[in-house]
């Protein structure tokens, strides 16, 4: 196997050499995770891809074990989760890991997305890499939503009802689509069964898309904080041991924070109402999705029209697919974009505000705030980004990564 990065590796171990000659997995690992030339100037934001991968694996592992004790039936789902918590040996631990793991997976992915946006990692030639990432994000949202239904508490039931009802906004066929999603005339046992089946399936689809994401990443290699391409070996280091060790440290540091929540604040991210068994006749006073959906939920409610709200919500994600083409700047990294840098932070603030809007009841002051924040969100992507790319004068780019690193050390 010819390698663009150098001569194919030679294995001294005969067994490894024998296998590799027939199935080049060892060459692959050697090439993609050992000698792989990686920009030498990553900051800690670049840890979050590895962290997200670890969280994905953790979610699948805990999920499989939980599935061995969970019963997807409306009469037994809530009790079977409580049984996992109470009677299954260390069931509480696995459940707490899974429950909080979802939140921390999203935290890792949101930081990862922010990093991609701030440093322009979506720009040519990494457009497909970015799009695959958005696909992963969508799949994660679907998986998380269906997973939240499984404990069959009040929030599970009403969250499922509200979100599936979004599709009733589709003209003409809306209600038929919703009935098809439900497998009945309300969220009920068939819905729970299919959500469980899909909740088990989608993570493996995510693994597949993550594979493609990594393949796409390794074609042109990683972007870096300067947003300029490496020009030679002086700009890069081999992936191992430099970034394996740095990622290892990053993962463990992230796990410390994760463990604090798992062991000392296990229900902090959840909602008390989900400890009330689902009751199709009583809706809780405030129904809110999990925190990672709040900004999108706020956009849904900000639009005073059913179809409009749904389109707004899906549009907020759809616009991410177009990001590589909406951004007209020729410079990748915000480090060299003196104006856009600030607007990037404003966007973060805007999304946080949307999150607060989503968490609060749609009344009084929250209504106009969520509308302004929603308009700003779309303004950022559709108007600001294309125009700013044209009028902004970027700072001079350094001649090479090594150059910038050395200068920083002196200065």
């Amino acid at each position: 196997m010819a390698s663009p990065h150098g001569a194919p590796p030679v294995f001294n171990n005969k067994v490894i050499a024998w296998i590799d000659h027939r199935l080049p997995i060892f060459s692959y690992i050697e090439k993609e995770y050992h000698t792989f030339p990686t920009p030498r100037n990553f900051n800690y934001f670049w840890n979050f891809g590895a962290i997200a991968t670890v969280m994905l694996v953790l979610m699948i592992a805990t999920g499989i074990v939980l599935a061995t004790n969970y019963t997807p039936h409306v009469l037994m789902a809530f009790d079977s989760v409580e049984r996992i918590d109470r009677d299954v040996p260390q069931g509480w631990l696995i459940r707490d890991l899974h429950m909080n793991g979802a939140s921390f997976f999203f935290i890792a992915v949101y930081v990862h997305i922010f990093r991609g946006m701030y440093y322009g990692s979506y720009k040519a030639p990494r457009e497909l890499l970015w799009i695959l990432g958005v696909v992963i994000f969508l799949l994660m949202m679907a998986t998380a939503f269906m997973g939240y239904v499984l404990p069959w508490g009040q929030m599970s039931f009403w969250g499922a009802t509200v979100i599936t009802n979004l599709f009733s906004a589709i003209p003409v066929v809306g209600q038929s689509v919703v009935d098809w999603l439900w497998g009945g005339f309300s969220v009920d046992n068939p819905t729970l069964n299919r959500f469980f089946a899909l909740h088990y399936l989608l993570p493996f689809v995510i693994v597949g898309v993550v594979g493609l994401h990594v393949v796409a990443l390794h074609v042109h290699g990683s972007n870096n904080p300067l947003g300029i391409d490496p020009k030679g070996p002086q700009d890069t280091v081999p992936f191992h041991p430099y970034y394996t060790m740095k990622d290892g440290f990053g993962v463990i540091a992230f796990m410390v924070v994760f463990a604090v929540f798992v062991f000392f604040l296990p229900d902090y991210m959840g909602h008390p109402d989900n400890y009330i068994p689902a009751n199709p006749l009583v809706t809780p006073a405030h129904i809110v999705p999990e925190w990672y959906f709040l900004p999108f939920y706020a956009i849904l409610r900000a639009v005073p029209d059913k179809l409009g709200g749904v389109l707004g919500m899906f549009g907020a994600i759809a616009v991410l697919f177009l990001l590589p083409w909406l951004d007209t700047s020729r410079v990748r990294s915000c480090t060299f974009r003196p104006i856009y840098k600030w607007f990037m932070l404003v966007l973060v603030a805007d999304v946080v505000i949307l999150g607060f809007c989503g968490a609060n009841p749609p009344e009084g002051f929250w209504v106009p705030l969520s509308r302004v924040a929603t308009l700003y969100y779309f303004f950022h992507f559709i108007i600001l980004l294309p125009i700013l790319g044209k009028i902004e004068r970027p700072l001079p780019l350094p001649s090479s990564i090594a150059d910038a690193v050395l200068k920083k050390k002196v200065g």
């Binding site: 805990t62 074990v65 061995t68 004790n69 009677d87 040996p89 260390q90 069931g91």
Partner: protein
Amino acid sequence: MVATGSLAAIGAVATAWPFINNLNPAADTLALSTIEVNVAPIAVGQAVTVKWRGKPVFIRHRTPDEIAKAKAVKLSELPDPETDAARVTDANKKVRPEWLVLVGVCTHLGCVPLGNKSGDQRGEFGGWFCPCHGSAYDTSGRIRKGPAPKNLEVPQFVFATDTLVRIG
């Protein structure tokens, strides 16, 4: 670096344990792993089947004739030699030959032998007969003929009172 590697390895192993342990029997399952059976209503010569840990348990009130037959067998004739007395001794070393407690699962491939209900076929040794592959057990539940390698298992049991037997 070696120390870090070993510590990480310890962490990985420790993390694996809850995942494995999760599949062990849960507390509610363990709570049902002991049952108490009132044997007072079982007449001499009759037997009952109770469910214990998801399996049938045979409790037979043996007739003097059945006891005598079980005692008379020479150990050398048995494929799995065991005295009748040993099989009717409870956990407190109390011997009550009239009560025989057995796990009703054939030691060949796990079928439930016939012979516990009146009218059942009991095989040529008057105990139990497995319809799957023809193993025949005697009045002590010991294997006498057929492919089964071992005697019917005697579960841990104890007479809490004269008429109350605790199994498990």
